[in-house]
Protein backbone atom coordinates (compact mmCIF):
# COMPACT_ATOMS: atom_id res chain seq x y z
CA UNK A 1 0.00 0.00 0.00
CA UNK A 2 2.17 2.75 -1.29
CA UNK A 3 1.61 6.22 -0.04
CA UNK A 4 -0.93 5.35 2.62
CA UNK A 5 1.16 6.83 5.37
CA UNK A 6 2.13 3.66 7.15
CA UNK A 7 5.85 3.13 6.94
CA UNK A 8 8.18 4.90 4.56
CA UNK A 9 7.25 5.43 0.95
CA UNK A 10 8.76 2.87 -1.36
CA UNK A 11 11.93 3.87 -3.22
CA UNK A 12 10.98 5.26 -6.62
CA UNK A 13 13.01 2.65 -8.48
CA UNK A 14 11.09 -0.16 -6.81
CA UNK A 15 7.79 1.37 -7.82
CA UNK A 16 8.89 1.98 -11.40
CA UNK A 17 10.33 -1.47 -11.77
CA UNK A 18 7.16 -3.12 -10.51
CA UNK A 19 4.95 -1.12 -12.85
CA UNK A 20 7.18 -1.47 -15.90
CA UNK A 21 7.52 -5.21 -15.35
CA UNK A 22 3.76 -5.61 -15.00
CA UNK A 23 3.13 -3.66 -18.21
CA UNK A 24 5.84 -5.49 -20.15
CA UNK A 25 4.42 -8.82 -18.99
CA UNK A 26 0.95 -7.86 -20.17
CA UNK A 27 2.08 -6.66 -23.59
CA UNK A 28 4.56 -9.46 -24.25
CA UNK A 29 1.81 -12.06 -23.98
CA UNK A 30 0.09 -10.98 -27.19
CA UNK A 31 1.82 -12.05 -30.44
CA UNK A 32 -0.35 -9.77 -32.60
CA UNK A 33 1.03 -6.69 -30.79
CA UNK A 34 4.51 -7.75 -31.90
CA UNK A 35 3.22 -8.32 -35.44
CA UNK A 36 2.03 -4.69 -35.61
CA UNK A 37 5.22 -3.48 -33.90
CA UNK A 38 3.24 -1.65 -31.21
CA UNK A 39 4.81 -0.65 -27.89
CA UNK A 40 3.47 1.22 -24.88
CA UNK A 41 4.90 4.23 -23.08
CA UNK A 42 3.87 4.68 -19.46
CA UNK A 43 3.60 7.74 -17.24
CA UNK A 44 2.11 6.77 -13.92
CA UNK A 45 -0.96 4.82 -14.96
CA UNK A 46 -1.31 6.63 -18.29
CA UNK A 47 -0.40 4.62 -21.38
CA UNK A 48 0.35 5.81 -24.89
CA UNK A 49 0.49 3.19 -27.59
CA UNK A 50 3.07 3.76 -30.33
CA UNK A 51 2.98 2.12 -33.75
CA UNK A 52 6.19 2.99 -35.62
CA UNK A 53 5.70 3.20 -39.36
CA UNK A 54 6.54 0.08 -41.36
CA UNK A 55 5.84 -0.73 -45.00
CA UNK A 56 3.76 -3.72 -44.04
CA UNK A 57 1.14 -1.43 -42.47
CA UNK A 58 0.37 0.18 -45.82
CA UNK A 59 -2.96 -0.49 -47.50
CA UNK A 60 -2.68 1.76 -50.50
CA UNK A 61 0.82 1.94 -51.94
CA UNK A 62 -0.13 4.74 -54.35
CA UNK A 63 -1.06 7.33 -51.74
CA UNK A 64 0.51 5.79 -49.58
CA UNK A 65 -1.82 5.33 -46.63
CA UNK A 66 -2.07 3.01 -43.65
CA UNK A 67 -4.39 0.05 -44.19
CA UNK A 68 -7.74 0.45 -42.46
CA UNK A 69 -7.20 -2.97 -40.92
CA UNK A 70 -3.84 -1.96 -39.45
CA UNK A 71 -5.43 1.15 -38.00
CA UNK A 72 -8.33 -0.87 -36.58
CA UNK A 73 -5.91 -3.40 -35.11
CA UNK A 74 -3.82 -0.65 -33.54
CA UNK A 75 -6.91 0.90 -31.92
CA UNK A 76 -8.19 -2.47 -30.69
CA UNK A 77 -4.82 -3.41 -29.21
CA UNK A 78 -4.74 -0.06 -27.44
CA UNK A 79 -8.23 -0.60 -26.03
CA UNK A 80 -7.56 -4.15 -24.80
CA UNK A 81 -4.22 -3.33 -23.21
CA UNK A 82 -5.77 -0.19 -21.70
CA UNK A 83 -8.45 -2.31 -20.03
CA UNK A 84 -6.05 -5.08 -19.03
CA UNK A 85 -3.71 -2.47 -17.58
CA UNK A 86 -6.50 -0.91 -15.52
CA UNK A 87 -7.23 -4.35 -14.01
CA UNK A 88 -3.57 -5.03 -13.41
CA UNK A 89 -3.02 -1.60 -11.86
CA UNK A 90 -5.65 -2.33 -9.24
CA UNK A 91 -3.88 -5.56 -8.40
CA UNK A 92 -0.34 -4.23 -8.16
CA UNK A 93 -1.07 -0.82 -6.65
CA UNK A 94 -4.45 -1.23 -5.01
CA UNK A 95 -5.55 -2.11 -1.54
CA UNK A 96 -5.19 -5.79 -2.26
CA UNK A 97 -1.61 -5.58 -3.33
CA UNK A 98 0.23 -8.72 -2.49
CA UNK A 99 -1.65 -11.07 -4.77
CA UNK A 100 0.29 -9.17 -7.39
CA UNK A 101 1.58 -10.52 -10.69
CA UNK A 102 -1.08 -13.16 -11.05
CA UNK A 103 -1.43 -13.45 -14.82
CA UNK A 104 -4.19 -11.14 -15.92
CA UNK A 105 -6.59 -12.58 -18.44
CA UNK A 106 -7.42 -10.22 -21.24
CA UNK A 107 -10.87 -8.81 -21.97
CA UNK A 108 -12.65 -10.10 -25.08
CA UNK A 109 -13.97 -7.75 -27.73
CA UNK A 110 -17.75 -7.86 -28.17
CA UNK A 111 -17.92 -5.16 -30.82
CA UNK A 112 -15.61 -2.49 -32.13
CA UNK A 113 -16.47 0.50 -34.33
CA UNK A 114 -13.80 2.50 -36.07
CA UNK A 115 -14.30 5.98 -37.48
CA UNK A 116 -11.75 6.76 -40.18
CA UNK A 117 -11.37 10.51 -39.95
CA UNK A 118 -8.51 11.07 -42.35
CA UNK A 119 -5.94 9.10 -44.23
CA UNK A 120 -3.29 7.43 -42.06
CA UNK A 121 0.05 8.82 -43.22
CA UNK A 122 3.22 6.77 -43.65
CA UNK A 123 4.67 7.79 -40.30
CA UNK A 124 4.47 6.81 -36.64
CA UNK A 125 1.06 6.69 -35.00
CA UNK A 126 0.03 7.12 -31.37
CA UNK A 127 -3.12 6.20 -29.49
CA UNK A 128 -4.66 6.46 -26.06
CA UNK A 129 -7.59 4.57 -24.64
CA UNK A 130 -10.14 5.91 -22.22
CA UNK A 131 -12.23 3.47 -20.24
CA UNK A 132 -15.66 5.10 -20.23
CA UNK A 133 -17.27 2.36 -18.18
CA UNK A 134 -15.46 -0.26 -16.16
CA UNK A 135 -17.98 -2.92 -15.22
CA UNK A 136 -17.53 -6.31 -13.68
CA UNK A 137 -18.87 -8.04 -16.77
CA UNK A 138 -18.86 -5.40 -19.50
CA UNK A 139 -16.68 -2.41 -20.17
CA UNK A 140 -16.77 0.37 -22.72
CA UNK A 141 -13.65 1.96 -24.12
CA UNK A 142 -12.95 4.89 -26.43
CA UNK A 143 -9.69 5.19 -28.32
CA UNK A 144 -8.23 7.98 -30.42
CA UNK A 145 -5.20 7.70 -32.68
CA UNK A 146 -3.15 10.55 -34.05
CA UNK A 147 0.08 11.18 -35.89
CA UNK A 148 1.57 14.64 -36.13
CA UNK A 149 -1.02 16.53 -34.19
CA UNK A 150 -2.94 15.18 -31.26
CA UNK A 151 -5.82 17.55 -31.93
CA UNK A 152 -6.32 16.03 -35.36
CA UNK A 153 -6.92 12.33 -34.76
CA UNK A 154 -6.86 10.21 -37.93
CA UNK A 155 -9.07 7.52 -36.41
CA UNK A 156 -11.26 7.00 -33.39
CA UNK A 157 -12.99 3.91 -32.10
CA UNK A 158 -15.41 2.78 -29.49
CA UNK A 159 -15.88 -0.78 -28.33
CA UNK A 160 -17.52 -3.05 -25.80
CA UNK A 161 -15.60 -5.75 -23.99
CA UNK A 162 -16.43 -8.81 -21.97
CA UNK A 163 -14.32 -8.74 -18.83
CA UNK A 164 -12.34 -11.76 -17.64
CA UNK A 165 -13.65 -13.51 -14.54
CA UNK A 166 -11.92 -12.11 -11.45
CA UNK A 167 -9.95 -14.34 -9.13
CA UNK A 168 -12.31 -16.25 -6.86
CA UNK A 169 -13.22 -14.68 -3.56
CA UNK A 170 -12.25 -11.21 -4.69
CA UNK A 171 -15.61 -9.67 -5.20
CA UNK A 172 -17.98 -12.55 -5.31
Amino acid sequence: MSGTGQGRPEPVQVVKQRRDAALAGLVARVPYIRFLGVSFERRGDELTAVMPFEDKLIGNPMLPALHGGATAGFLEVTAIIGLGWALLWDEIEGVERGGAQAPVRLPKTIDFTVDYLRSGLPRDAYARAHVTRAGRRYSSVRVAAWQDNRDRPFAEATGHFLMPARAAGKDG
Partner: protein
Protein backbone atom coordinates in the same frame (compact mmCIF):
# COMPACT_ATOMS: atom_id res chain seq x y z
CA UNK B 1 -9.90 6.77 -45.09
CA UNK B 2 -7.81 3.74 -45.46
CA UNK B 3 -7.90 1.09 -47.93
CA UNK B 4 -7.64 0.62 -51.57
CA UNK B 5 -8.29 3.95 -53.26
CA UNK B 6 -6.92 4.62 -56.72
CA UNK B 7 -7.80 1.17 -57.93
CA UNK B 8 -9.75 1.50 -61.18
CA UNK B 9 -11.92 -1.52 -61.78
CA UNK B 10 -13.09 -0.52 -65.25
CA UNK B 11 -11.51 -0.04 -68.65
CA UNK B 12 -10.72 3.45 -69.90
CA UNK B 13 -14.05 3.51 -71.71
CA UNK B 14 -15.82 2.81 -68.46
CA UNK B 15 -16.87 -0.73 -69.33
CA UNK B 16 -15.95 -3.69 -67.17
CA UNK B 17 -13.13 -5.65 -68.70
CA UNK B 18 -14.21 -9.14 -67.60
CA UNK B 19 -11.42 -11.63 -67.04
CA UNK B 20 -8.74 -8.99 -67.30
CA UNK B 21 -10.40 -6.96 -64.64
CA UNK B 22 -10.57 -9.92 -62.30
CA UNK B 23 -6.90 -10.69 -62.82
CA UNK B 24 -5.84 -7.07 -62.35
CA UNK B 25 -8.03 -6.85 -59.28
CA UNK B 26 -6.51 -10.00 -57.80
CA UNK B 27 -2.97 -8.81 -58.40
CA UNK B 28 -3.77 -5.44 -56.94
CA UNK B 29 -5.55 -6.64 -53.82
CA UNK B 30 -2.91 -9.21 -53.01
CA UNK B 31 -0.13 -6.67 -53.52
CA UNK B 32 -1.34 -4.36 -50.76
CA UNK B 33 1.51 -4.54 -48.26
CA UNK B 34 -0.68 -5.09 -45.21
CA UNK B 35 -2.75 -7.74 -47.03
CA UNK B 36 0.50 -9.43 -47.99
CA UNK B 37 1.82 -9.30 -44.44
CA UNK B 38 -1.35 -11.07 -43.28
CA UNK B 39 -1.16 -13.57 -46.19
CA UNK B 40 -4.65 -12.61 -47.34
CA UNK B 41 -5.69 -14.23 -50.56
CA UNK B 42 -8.47 -13.30 -52.88
CA UNK B 43 -10.87 -16.20 -53.46
CA UNK B 44 -13.58 -14.66 -55.61
CA UNK B 45 -14.90 -11.41 -57.01
CA UNK B 46 -18.28 -10.59 -58.51
CA UNK B 47 -20.36 -7.50 -59.12
CA UNK B 48 -20.37 -5.81 -55.73
CA UNK B 49 -19.01 -8.89 -53.95
CA UNK B 50 -15.64 -10.22 -52.80
CA UNK B 51 -14.25 -13.16 -50.83
CA UNK B 52 -10.90 -13.28 -49.12
CA UNK B 53 -9.22 -15.80 -46.86
CA UNK B 54 -6.85 -15.32 -43.93
CA UNK B 55 -4.70 -18.35 -43.04
CA UNK B 56 -4.19 -19.11 -39.38
CA UNK B 57 -0.88 -17.71 -38.15
CA UNK B 58 0.52 -17.91 -34.62
CA UNK B 59 1.97 -14.40 -35.11
CA UNK B 60 -1.58 -13.01 -35.26
CA UNK B 61 -2.81 -14.51 -32.00
CA UNK B 62 -4.48 -12.14 -29.57
CA UNK B 63 -5.11 -14.46 -26.64
CA UNK B 64 -2.09 -16.60 -25.82
CA UNK B 65 -4.11 -18.77 -23.41
CA UNK B 66 -6.36 -20.02 -26.19
CA UNK B 67 -4.47 -19.34 -29.43
CA UNK B 68 -7.41 -17.35 -30.80
CA UNK B 69 -6.61 -14.77 -33.50
CA UNK B 70 -6.62 -11.13 -32.48
CA UNK B 71 -9.63 -9.06 -33.53
CA UNK B 72 -7.31 -6.69 -35.37
CA UNK B 73 -6.41 -9.37 -37.91
CA UNK B 74 -10.10 -10.19 -38.36
CA UNK B 75 -10.82 -6.46 -38.84
CA UNK B 76 -8.18 -6.22 -41.55
CA UNK B 77 -9.68 -9.23 -43.34
CA UNK B 78 -13.22 -7.81 -43.17
CA UNK B 79 -12.15 -4.28 -44.12
CA UNK B 80 -10.25 -5.56 -47.14
CA UNK B 81 -13.19 -7.71 -48.26
CA UNK B 82 -15.71 -4.88 -47.84
CA UNK B 83 -13.46 -2.40 -49.67
CA UNK B 84 -13.01 -4.85 -52.53
CA UNK B 85 -16.77 -5.43 -52.74
CA UNK B 86 -17.29 -1.67 -53.01
CA UNK B 87 -14.67 -1.37 -55.75
CA UNK B 88 -16.38 -4.22 -57.59
CA UNK B 89 -19.74 -2.45 -57.60
CA UNK B 90 -20.68 -1.93 -61.26
CA UNK B 91 -21.81 1.66 -60.73
CA UNK B 92 -18.54 2.78 -59.21
CA UNK B 93 -15.90 4.81 -61.00
CA UNK B 94 -13.12 5.26 -58.52
CA UNK B 95 -11.35 3.60 -55.65
CA UNK B 96 -12.71 3.77 -52.17
CA UNK B 97 -11.78 4.53 -48.58
CA UNK B 98 -13.39 3.24 -45.41
CA UNK B 99 -15.46 5.89 -43.62
CA UNK B 100 -16.45 3.67 -40.73
CA UNK B 101 -16.54 -0.01 -39.94
CA UNK B 102 -18.24 -1.84 -37.12
CA UNK B 103 -17.21 -5.38 -36.25
CA UNK B 104 -19.29 -7.70 -34.08
CA UNK B 105 -17.38 -10.63 -32.67
CA UNK B 106 -19.86 -13.44 -32.26
CA UNK B 107 -17.45 -16.12 -31.14
CA UNK B 108 -13.76 -16.94 -31.00
CA UNK B 109 -12.25 -18.11 -34.28
CA UNK B 110 -11.19 -21.74 -33.92
CA UNK B 111 -7.38 -21.88 -33.52
CA UNK B 112 -5.65 -23.49 -36.49
CA UNK B 113 -8.43 -22.82 -38.97
CA UNK B 114 -8.36 -20.28 -41.79
CA UNK B 115 -10.99 -17.56 -41.91
CA UNK B 116 -12.99 -16.67 -44.97
CA UNK B 117 -14.64 -13.28 -45.39
CA UNK B 118 -17.63 -12.90 -47.69
CA UNK B 119 -18.47 -9.29 -48.41
CA UNK B 120 -21.16 -7.56 -50.39
CA UNK B 121 -21.75 -3.96 -51.26
CA UNK B 122 -25.51 -3.91 -50.73
CA UNK B 123 -26.37 -0.30 -51.45
CA UNK B 124 -24.80 2.71 -53.11
CA UNK B 125 -25.69 6.36 -53.43
CA UNK B 126 -23.84 8.93 -55.53
CA UNK B 127 -21.20 9.39 -52.85
CA UNK B 128 -21.51 6.56 -50.35
CA UNK B 129 -21.39 2.78 -50.52
CA UNK B 130 -22.70 0.50 -47.80
CA UNK B 131 -21.06 -2.87 -47.38
CA UNK B 132 -21.29 -5.82 -45.02
CA UNK B 133 -19.33 -8.99 -44.53
CA UNK B 134 -19.15 -12.12 -42.43
CA UNK B 135 -16.06 -14.01 -41.32
CA UNK B 136 -16.36 -17.80 -41.19
CA UNK B 137 -14.10 -20.62 -40.08
CA UNK B 138 -14.66 -24.31 -40.91
CA UNK B 139 -18.01 -24.27 -39.11
CA UNK B 140 -19.61 -22.01 -41.68
CA UNK B 141 -23.05 -22.15 -40.07
CA UNK B 142 -21.84 -20.10 -37.13
CA UNK B 143 -20.12 -16.87 -38.20
CA UNK B 144 -17.09 -15.77 -36.19
CA UNK B 145 -17.63 -12.08 -36.85
CA UNK B 146 -19.64 -9.71 -38.97
CA UNK B 147 -18.89 -6.24 -40.27
CA UNK B 148 -20.91 -3.35 -41.60
CA UNK B 149 -19.45 -0.15 -42.90
CA UNK B 150 -19.79 2.97 -44.99
CA UNK B 151 -17.28 3.67 -47.74
CA UNK B 152 -16.51 6.58 -50.02
CA UNK B 153 -17.96 6.06 -53.49
CA UNK B 154 -18.28 7.94 -56.75
CA UNK B 155 -21.12 6.74 -58.92
CA UNK B 156 -20.85 6.65 -62.67
CA UNK B 157 -22.73 9.42 -64.48
CA UNK B 158 -25.76 7.93 -66.13
CA UNK B 159 -25.98 8.28 -69.93
CA UNK B 160 -24.90 11.28 -71.91
CA UNK B 161 -23.39 14.14 -70.02
Amino acid sequence: MSDTSEFQPSGADGSPAGEDMARVARDFMESLPHAKALNLSLLALGPGTAQFSLPYDAALVGDPDTGVLHGGAVSALLDTACGAAVIMHPEGTEGTATLDLRIDYMRAATPGQRLIARAECYHVTRNVAFARAVALDDDSDRPVASATGAFSFTARQRDGV
